[in-house]
Symmetry: none
Subunit: 227 residues, 2 copies
């Protein structure tokens, strides 16, 4: 048995099953295969699946919905799988979500080390145009920036930097309070104003040497739950 034995359609079916299963965590139905491979008739899909089964490339369970799976072992032997994995090497990077902000937890300075992050997000390079190794993320707690459309629970991505321009949103460490918060930055003379985007909160004003900027917010991400 050889892959050249397989028809174009059968190869596409294999490929589709692989991708579908990877994304859904369950196998596709005959109709889903048909739709995505360009076969209008379920019987034709079934026919081709039988062929694939004969070649032991897939395993089928009769009369079971979605009762099929790839024979990964066999496929690997035949050198088919590697071919699939080597895709898309577009530069992407992973950003760790380090913890929460605005609640008053210190955050590690530059987190190249795993800090038991609660997760991470991954972006393509083009989106932010910033060096990936200087980025980190925090989950926002509280409503102090609600007028800047940053909500409780949002994730902010920050670019680790010690300075920032007026008007930029930053995460800053306030020495006296032993606290890190998310605020707009404004410098006036020798004083630093950390101003919230919520009229209910007061700006924090401190001498410049008592405030340390951890990073500048470069992105905000929110995940909505179904209603």
């Amino acid at each position: 048995m050889n892959f050249s034995t397989l028809s174009e359609r059968q190869q596409r079916i294999l490929r589709f099953i692989y991708e579908f299963t990877n994304t859904h965590h369950y196998p596709p139905t005959i109709r889903e295969i048909g739709d995505n491979v360009g076969i209008s008739s379920t019987s034709v899909v079934n026919y081709n699946l039988s062929k694939l089964e004969e070649n032991e490339l897939i395993v089928r369970e009769r009369e079971v919905s979605r009762g099929l799976s790839l024979n990964l072992e066999r496929l690997t032997e035949l050198g088919w799988l590697p071919e699939l994995n080597g895709n898309s090497a577009d530069r992407r990077f992973r950003i760790p979500i380090l913890g929460k902000i605005a609640a008053g937890k210190p955050i590690p300075v530059i987190p190249s080390e795993p800090y038991d992050p609660e997760g991470w997000i991954e972006l393509t390079e083009g989106m932010l145009n910033l060096p990936a190794d200087r980025l980190f993320a925090l989950r926002v707690q509280g409503n102090s920036m609600i007028d800047a459309s940053v909500l409780d629970g949002d994730i902010v991505i920050l670019h680790a930097q010690e300075t920032a321009n007026n008007g930029e949103m930053v995460a800053a460490w306030i020495e006296d309070d032993e606290d890190t918060t998310l605020k707009y930055l404004r410098r006036e003379g020798n004083m630093v104003h950390l101003v919230p985007a919520n009229p209910n909160y007061q700006p924090i004003v401190r001498p410049a040497d008592k405030v340390r900027i951890n990073g500048r917010v470069v992105s905000v991400i929110r995940v909505l739950k179904p209603a």
Copy 2:
């Protein structure tokens, strides 16, 4: 959330799903779960599955046979899967940014095909817990949802679906206007209200059959420029 929160039955269900999936390479049906966990009624299984879903321990696809899978990432976090093969968390997916919304452009229905997207974003699976191939993204144009903290220029990630619950933010196609907009959904009788989150704009009210939902907003992403 804690495992002690779970009833005996729910824990057994989890365990069964895990074992079944491992041996069969596809997830069990409601009835299969019931049989093996000792529940005679499908609705009871369904009930418990819903509970598990609320706790984000599993992911379910509505109206899809065997449409469930364990949230391995979450389970690992909770220390339930001590011996896991390592990188379940490695799964990442790319979401195409298809175009703009609220400006009045029709958007392609389900973009499995490359549509020359202006870019894409990539997320870890655990973040959204939705099938990657049903997700797409749009860039928001205009301020109609500003009170929902969705700004002009933001990127919204949508889950392609034809229906949605009241109160969810959706992208909807309005037949008469030949227009697609981003609004909150509210159904009242036979009418569909598409209500903006901005007092300056009026809700759009149409007969249900004149409105087609393209997808539900599951995430919002904003990229900030330096000041």
